[in-house]
């Protein structure tokens, strides 16, 4: 079996007295699109944050390829996140003051790329994703679905190895949600990017290659049936 790109082993994490994860195990293969399902409060977001190195688990191991994420310092994890991961959250979380193009260029600027190059890549990507018409608009001038597609562009721009999406269509109507997912999954497959998408919606999970279910802080994978 090849080394998975992400792996969690016996991960636990509590918030004060509340256990959010109680021994979560998960493997994600490179290039895979994985859906993480489960009821609200079951620990999906906490698992995603641990896998992405945003949260440090209380115990257990988190691996990114052959690196042990939970052992890295805060600073090294931040650096690794910027270089290797892209993020899409439920409410785009675009910077409201900046036009769409600048929002998309942001990850490249943070990674130290030159301004001109960053903007050129951003414009090219927006174009390729059919969003060129939105480049000059600020988030306040975008619909929810448009803002979310810009957020997908931002997650893709630095060609990350993994994109983490937490309820990316949660605030959208069905049709806008489809557009966001089509964009995210198609682009990720084209680039060979791994996607971990947290969702409680089966229709969203149906875009993935495989799904796991989180229940009470533990990951159950559904045995594929005949």
């Amino acid at each position: 079996m090849s080394t998975p790109i992400l792996r969690a082993a016996k991960v636990t994490r509590s918030f004060g007295p509340t256990p959010a994860l109680r021994g979560a195990d998960l493997r994600v293969d490179a290039g895979e699109v994985l859906a993480v399902m489960g009821p609200s409060g079951s620990g999906k977001s906490t698992l995603l944050h641990c896998l992405a190195g945003i949260l440090r688990p209380d115990s257990g191991e988190v691996w990114f390829a052959d690196q042990r994420l939970d052992r890295l310092s805060e600073r090294d994890r931040t650096r690794l996140r910027r270089r290797e991961f892209g993020f899409v959250f439920q409410f785009g979380q675009l910077v409201p003051e900046l036009p769409a193009a600048a929002n998309v260029a942001l990850p490249l600027l943070l990674a130290g790329e030159r301004r001109r190059d960053a903007y050129r890549s951003a414009a090219g990507l927006l174009d390729r994703l059919g969003l060129a018409g939105l480049a000059a608009r600020r988030p306040g001038e975008l619909s929810g679905g448009q803002a979310q597609r810009v957020a997908v562009a931002r997650a893709l721009v630095a060609r990350p190895r993994v994109i983490f999406a937490d309820e990316p269509t949660g605030s959208l109507d069905s049709l806008s949600g489809e557009a966001v997912l089509d964009l995210l999954v198609d682009a990720a497959r084209e680039q060979g990017t791994t996607v971990v998408v947290v969702t409680h919606e089966a229709r969203v999970a149906a875009y993935a290659d495989r799904e796991v279910v989180v229940r009470d802080g533990v990951v159950t994978s559904l045995a594929a049936t005949s």
Partner: protein, 175 residues
């Protein structure tokens, strides 16, 4: 209903029973708006007996069907078990069958959670196929696939809600 034979097997498994008792139990659990006709109870039991899945216990020779007490056989248990383990082919409007399987799993002390898991996986697999169809097809195919997707999604919501209620259900109906 297509599951009457397996439902009767499920009701017979805990203890042997007469046809009229089976009918009463069946109607209480599954037949709210469509009680099972006596004729169907006895014809179904007759077929199960012919196939070796139930046997008649202690009836006087020549007694009518209402005097016979039926017991499940090993072959009957096997048939019930296979049926409870197998996910239903996902198509819209499955609610009744899924409900009957959950109840019979609980009544017979088998894992309703395991059944709901395989059913969830089967549903998601079908939804993945439909999602792939949507990508290519003409708009008419997409709209049709959407219809099925929304209905399967409704099933899944029921599956999730029922899974969350299993402890409570087991307390009331389990053994």
């Amino acid at each position: 209903m297509a599951n009457v034979p397996t439902a009767l097997l499920g009701l017979l498994e805990p203890q042997p029973s007469h046809g009229y008792e089976l009918k009463r139990e069946y109607d209480t659990l599954f037949g709210q708006d469509r009680p099972l006709p006596f004729g169907q109870v006895y014809s179904t039991l007759g077929r199960l007996e012919r196939d070796g899945q139930v046997v008649v216990e202690g009836a006087e020779p020549g007694a009518g069907p209402e005097r016979k007490r039926y017991a499940i056989t090993d072959a009957g248990v096997r048939r019930l078990e296979e049926w409870l383990r197998e996910p239903e082919p996902p198509h819209p409007h499955l609610q009744t069958v899924l409900f009957v399987k959950v109840m019979l799993a609980l009544l017979s002390g088998r894992s309703a959670a395991a059944f709901l898991d395989v059913q969830r996986a089967a549903h998601l697999q079908r939804m993945r196929e439909l999602t792939a169809i949507r990508k290519a097809g003409p708009l008419s195919r997409i709209v049709l696939a959407d219809y099925e997707l929304f209905h399967l999604e409704a099933d899944l919501r029921w599956i999730d809600l029922t899974a969350a209620r299993l402890d409570q259900l087991a307390e009331e109906y389990g053994r």
